[in-house]
């Protein structure tokens, strides 16, 4: 079984004077159906590592493999394509487009991918939102939804193109405990039942404890795994 995402000595340095090290020498594999958490104090480089894994940022050292393919040197359009097809992001702040309704937000990645017809796109978006108990609120704008609801819309959008990897950056960071539990349970379910790789950046040790693998970081370096 090949790793969905594999980092080989991955590093990122900002070319400032003096150079700022964000991530150094990270090596690990992430398997389908696993829940991986990246934990560490703020500023330790865990979000930077997530952006590297999600092809939002380019590494300055090392290699990154997605589905066994080296994607380190790919151009912007090819990287955008991989993000579109293989990855789904969930951020701390919901990051929905404010002018679009919940349904339109979820339809967006599918319409960009263009594999499904309009009716099928709408149907899939409805069913994703229904699975997350948002069936009643599909036509609301993000401003008309609660924080927990918005975060679930964001998860539905991340799932739109049936990605292999869900990348979550402090997904529960701005939610109350009830909603946190719910979002977390959903993420676990995605890994366990739908065999997706879930990578979750957090500073909440209880989330880390529930993960299959926990990558602990300090000052840009991976200090412990397991």
């Amino acid at each position: 079984m090949t790793a969905v995402v594999e980092a080989r000595g991955l590093g990122r340095t900002l070319a400032l004077e003096p150079p700022v090290l964000l991530v150094a020498d990270a090596s690990f594999s992430i398997m389908a159906g696993s829940f991986t958490s990246i934990i560490g104090p703020s500023g330790c480089g865990k979000s930077s590592l997530l952006y590297l894994l999600g092809l939002l940022d380019r590494p300055t050292q090392g290699q990154l493999l997605v589905d066994g393919q080296d994607v380190t040197g790919l151009g912007g359009d090819a990287r955008a394509r991989i993000r579109l097809e293989r990855f789904g992001f969930v951020f701390q702040f919901h990051f929905l487009l404010p002018e679009l309704t919940a349904l339109e937000n979820v339809m967006l990645p599918m319409r960009r991918l263009g594999r499904l017809g309009n009716a099928a796109v709408r149907e899939r978006a409805m069913s994703l939102l229904g699975d997350l108990a948002l069936g009643e609120k599909v036509d609301r704008l993000p401003g008309q939804l609660s924080g927990g609801e918005r975060q679930r819309v964001a998860i539905a959008r991340a799932l739109a193109n049936d990605p292999a990897v869900i990348l979550a950056d402090e997904p529960t960071g701005s939610l109350d405990s009830v909603n946190s539990e719910r979002v977390l349970a959903t993420l676990h379910q995605l890994a366990r039942e739908q065999a997706r790789a879930v990578i979750c950046v957090t500073h909440d040790s209880s989330i880390a404890a529930s993960a299959d693998t926990c990558i602990r970081m300090l000052d840009g370096r991976v200090v412990a795994m397991g």
Partner: protein, 415 residues
């Protein structure tokens, strides 16, 4: 691909709908630009067309006269070209004036499809009534042909050119001249030439204010002129009218080459006016393109603030998997959409302005005249094309910024 464009256009449309006030400013900028472009160019092109029409119709398209552009070469110089001795400052023999073989020329003119040639004889003559004397240019014509070739007929206030054929010794003069001499239609007037004296009868009058025609010309039958001027069978001018006046130069060149006589096209006669028109067009198009350019500044501003306001959304779209090109396109489409709305409104404005301009009446020389306007669809197309092109550039410049937004920077600062 069309699905992608549709999606990006949909996102752009949301942008446009979001910022109503700025959209309104940018759109009205384009609309005013397009509207005034249409109004100004309609007037300029319309008046130019009117002017050229006047130039073309003022006289026959081509005038062949019994003049030579340069004296004919000496037979000796032709026989011994490159000889050791060159002949200079020779005196040309005085030749009898008039177009030799004018029937031949006329036949050559008639061979050009649709062309009509009208022979005429011009000469000096003095009209005399009592103690008054007026020197005029006497022009002898064939009325049937001349009325087809020139606009002389249109300038008649009283009578018709054909009346020359029915009244023996008939003469048509201008109202100005008739007034000066106290003549009216039907009056008889004495005419003196180098060859003798006789009487002519006024059968028609040209309208006032037509320059030479109404103050110092007189039209008679060609036969009459030949007899009065003592030059039987002579013709010294052939006026040619063509179907397409823009072929005049070419046809004139051919005729001149074949017969040697000076054949002057209307373009040659009015070269100074035509170059004036070129200058006028350059001025107009620079002023009007400045208007359109300024209108595109509005689009630049809107798209530019749009990009600045939407960096967060740009980062979201990038994280979802939209490419740099996608985002650039969203904002270019936004700019083009603004321009499109502006163009449509501008068309309506321009149409309205033209309707107002077209309804204005100006009294010139006692007659109400309207502004000559060119309302062709071509101007609408030119205005739209120019606006859209400048909008693409104006939107593309700030849109590049959208594609350069680094999503990581935005995500980091939000976290």
């Amino acid at each position: 691909m069309s699905g992608r464009l549709g999606l990006l256009a949909g996102l752009a449309a949301k942008q446009v709908a979001m910022r109503r006030r700025q959209t309104l400013v940018a759109v009205s900028g384009v609309a005013v630009g397009v509207g005034f472009f249409l109004a100004v160019s309609a007037m300029m092109i319309g008046s130019q067309a009117d002017f050229i029409r006047t130039l073309i119709d003022a006289a026959p398209h081509i005038i062949i006269s019994d003049e030579l552009r340069s004296p004919p070469p000496q037979p000796g110089a032709v026989a011994y070209t490159g000889g050791a001795i060159a002949i200079r400052h020779q005196k040309a023999r005085t030749e009898a004036r008039g177009l030799k073989d004018w029937q031949e020329i006329l036949r050559a003119v008639d061979e050009v499809p649709g062309a009509i040639g009208s022979p005429s004889l011009t000469g000096g003559l003095t009209l005399r009534l009592g103690g008054r004397e007026e020197a005029i240019a006497l022009i002898g014509v064939e009325p049937d042909i001349e009325s087809k070739v020139s606009t002389v007929e249109d300038n008649l206030r009283v009578g018709r050119l054909r009346d020359l054929q029915t009244v023996p010794g008939g003469l048509i003069v201008g109202e100005d001249l008739a007034q000066r001499m106290g003549l009216q239609v039907g009056d008889v007037v004495g005419a003196t030439t180098a060859g003798g004296a006789r009487t002519l009868r006024i059968v028609g009058l040209f309208k006032k204010g037509r320059g030479q025609l109404s103050s110092a010309s007189g039209y008679v039958l060609l036969r009459e002129a030949q007899s009065v001027l003592g030059r039987p069978f002579v013709v010294n001018r052939i006026g040619v009218k063509l179907v397409d006046p823009y072929q005049s130069q070419e046809v004139a060149g051919r005729l001149e080459k074949r017969f040697g006589y000076k054949a002057e096209s209307w373009q040659e006669r009015s070269a100074d006016f035509l170059s004036l028109l070129v200058t006028r067009n350059v001025i107009m198009y620079s002023v009007v393109s400045a208007i359109l350019l300024v209108a595109s500044f509005g689009i630049y501003t809107v798209v530019s603030t749009s990009v600045a306001d939407k960096v967060r959304d740009i980062a979201i779209l990038r994280s979802i998997g939209f490419s740099e090109g996608d985002l650039q396109l969203v904002f270019v489409i936004e700019g083009v959409a603004l321009a499109l709305i502006g163009v449509v409104l501008g068309w309506m404005l321009g149409y309205g302005l033209m309707a107002i301009l077209g309804s204005l009446r100006f009294p010139i020389a006692g007659e109400d005249q309207t502004l000559p306007l060119d309302r062709s669809a071509r101007q609408y197309a030119v205005a739209a094309a120019a606006s859209l092109l400048s909008a693409v550039v104006a939107a593309w410049l700030p849109a590049r910024k959208a594609s350069r937004v680094d999503p990581v920077d935005i995500l980091r600062s939000a976290a």
